[in-house]
């Protein structure tokens, strides 16, 4: 789900040297944090060109450079994106969300994550998924009466073990 390809690029975005890329990233992030809503890479490029951020004189950045930068930021979890037409628009993740997602990832790297976190649902095998759909299909949906749904009594079912 994460856009890892962007992260694995050996050199900076579209030939821009690494250090410059880091500076650009923080500049782009600042633009998105100050923006009122989601921005497309084109909007970001426009605002970069308008200046207001950064100091040194810089030539126009190509569209693909900006796209690379925002996808890297997205891969780092600093931006969220939404599909819009053929491309994406990006929004900066707020501080609390950042802390939470960092934590989620850190816990995810641990071997016994599930033992500490009480997750709402555990993994589902193909067979479990089939069974689950079956059970839910037997359920009449929003309450309309007191009749017992076709779920079966798990106690009785367990008795056949």
């Amino acid at each position: 789900m994460r856009d890892d390809d962007a992260q694995r690029l050996p050199s900076g975005p579209a030939g821009v040297p690494r250090r410059a890329a880091g500076a650009l990233e923080s500049e782009v992030l600042a633009i998105l944090r100050e923006a009122d809503g989601a921005l497309s890479p084109g909007d970001v490029r426009q605002r970069l060109a308008d200046g207001g951020h950064g100091d040194g004189p810089r030539g126009e950045l190509s569209y693909s450079t900006v796209v690379t930068i925002v996808s890297r930021l997205h891969a780092k979890g600093l931006l969220t994106r939404n599909r819009s037409g053929r491309g994406f628009t990006y929004t900066a993740v707020d501080e609390a969300g950042l802390a939470a997602s960092r934590m989620s990832r850190a816990l995810g790297s641990g071997t016994d994550r599930d033992a500490v976190l009480s997750r709402f649902v555990s993994g589902l095998s193909e067979r479990d998924a089939r069974l689950l759909r079956d059970l839910l299909a037997g359920d009449p949906g929003p309450p309309d009466g007191d009749h017992v749904p076709a779920g079966g009594d798990p106690g009785q079912a367990a008795g056949r073990e």
């Binding site: 939470a100 079956d134 073990e161």
Partner: protein
């Protein structure tokens, strides 16, 4: 000398009984019973191993000199083959090591969780994760936090959200993570108790499900929400089309296979069925077996003590 082997045998029996018990007992009762039984049985089996090892150690001349008892008397009275004693000593070493490692791991993991929970600022009671993942969990802490991905919140209606939050809230307020941690430590000391640990992991989910059902007043709502989230959280793409096809094929397999299924279908089936009843007789019977096991371990210890006293008198 069969008394010494009873504490080693009963945990295997408990392992076999854990899953049917988890399905039959009311979840709160089941959680308490299984957790306490796991601790008691792990303690008994470890004590039995220690006693077996002690019988072997008692034959060492050096110990006889220190303890000032007669070695020939011990040899004559010792009912345990030396090989069994040595095997027990090895098993005891493995058990205590595994126990210590698990205690350290659990303490670390919980400490980590508490620290992280303290650093999170909930927004209206829950912490919302950015990004496109389907995630929902309770993070133990003081206070604990409920963490849900924004993407999942968007997919649920308000009643589904209520059910989810009530479930996670129950995990935190009832401190379910402690039950699970204790069961994990017990199962580390005696691997025969692994099914009991898994059963505890299941019954705390059931406990939280029943609490969510009570809070929302709708068991089917909770069942549907669990099902919905579980299906959403699957990594496979194209789940919708596959679902239709498999849904038809699946009607043949039917519900008798629920008992063999993973935790999610069992939880859903339990919620769609009538609310669980308290089963005091079953509970008392199970507790009695555990107490008997403890008694057997104690009696065996007394036997060893008597033998050593005899050997001391025979000096």
């Amino acid at each position: 000398m069969w008394l010494l082997f009873l504490p080693l045998l009963i945990p295997a029996l408990a392992g076999a009984a854990a899953r049917p018990l988890a399905a039959r007992l009311e979840p709160r009762q089941a959680t308490w019973l299984l957790t306490l039984a796991a601790v008691a049985l792990a303690a008994c089996s470890t004590a039995a191993l220690a006693l077996l090892a002690a019988y072997a150690a008692a034959r060492l001349p050096a110990l006889a000199a220190v303890g000032n008892y007669s070695q020939p008397v011990i040899r004559r009275g010792d009912p345990i083959p030396v090989a069994a004693g040595v095997a027990a000593a090895l098993a005891l070493t493995a058990a205590t090591t595994a126990f210590a490692v698990m205690v350290r791991n659990r303490a670390r993991a919980l400490g980590e969780s508490y620290r992280r929970a303290a650093g999170l600022q909930p927004d209206g009671g829950i912490v919302v994760l950015p990004g496109g993942s389907i995630e929902a969990y309770a993070l133990p802490g003081l206070p604990g936090r409920i963490v849900v991905s924004g993407c999942l919140l968007d997919r649920l209606d308000s009643r589904g959200r209520d059910a989810l939050v009530a479930h996670e809230q129950a995990h935190l307020s009832e401190r379910h993570h402690l039950f699970v941690a204790v069961a994990m430590v017990a199962a580390a000391a005696n691997p025969l108790l692994l099914p009991v640990r898994r059963a505890v992991e299941y019954t705390v989910e059931r406990w939280a499900d029943e609490r969510a059902a009570a809070a929302t007043g709708d068991r089917r709502l909770v069942a549907r929400t669990i099902g919905q989230v579980a299906l959403l959280a699957r990594p496979r793409p194209g789940r919708r089309t596959a679902g239709v096809v498999l849904g038809i094929a699946g009607t043949r397999a039917r519900r008798m296979s629920v008992a063999w299924a993973g935790p999610v279908p069992r939880r859903v089936a339990a919620l769609l069925a009538a609310p669980p009843r308290r089963r005091t007789v079953l509970l008392v019977a199970c507790a009695a077996i555990v107490v008997l096991t403890g008694g057997a371990a104690l009696e065996a210890a007394r036997d060893l003590h008597a033998l050593v006293e005899l050997a001391q008198a025979g000096r």
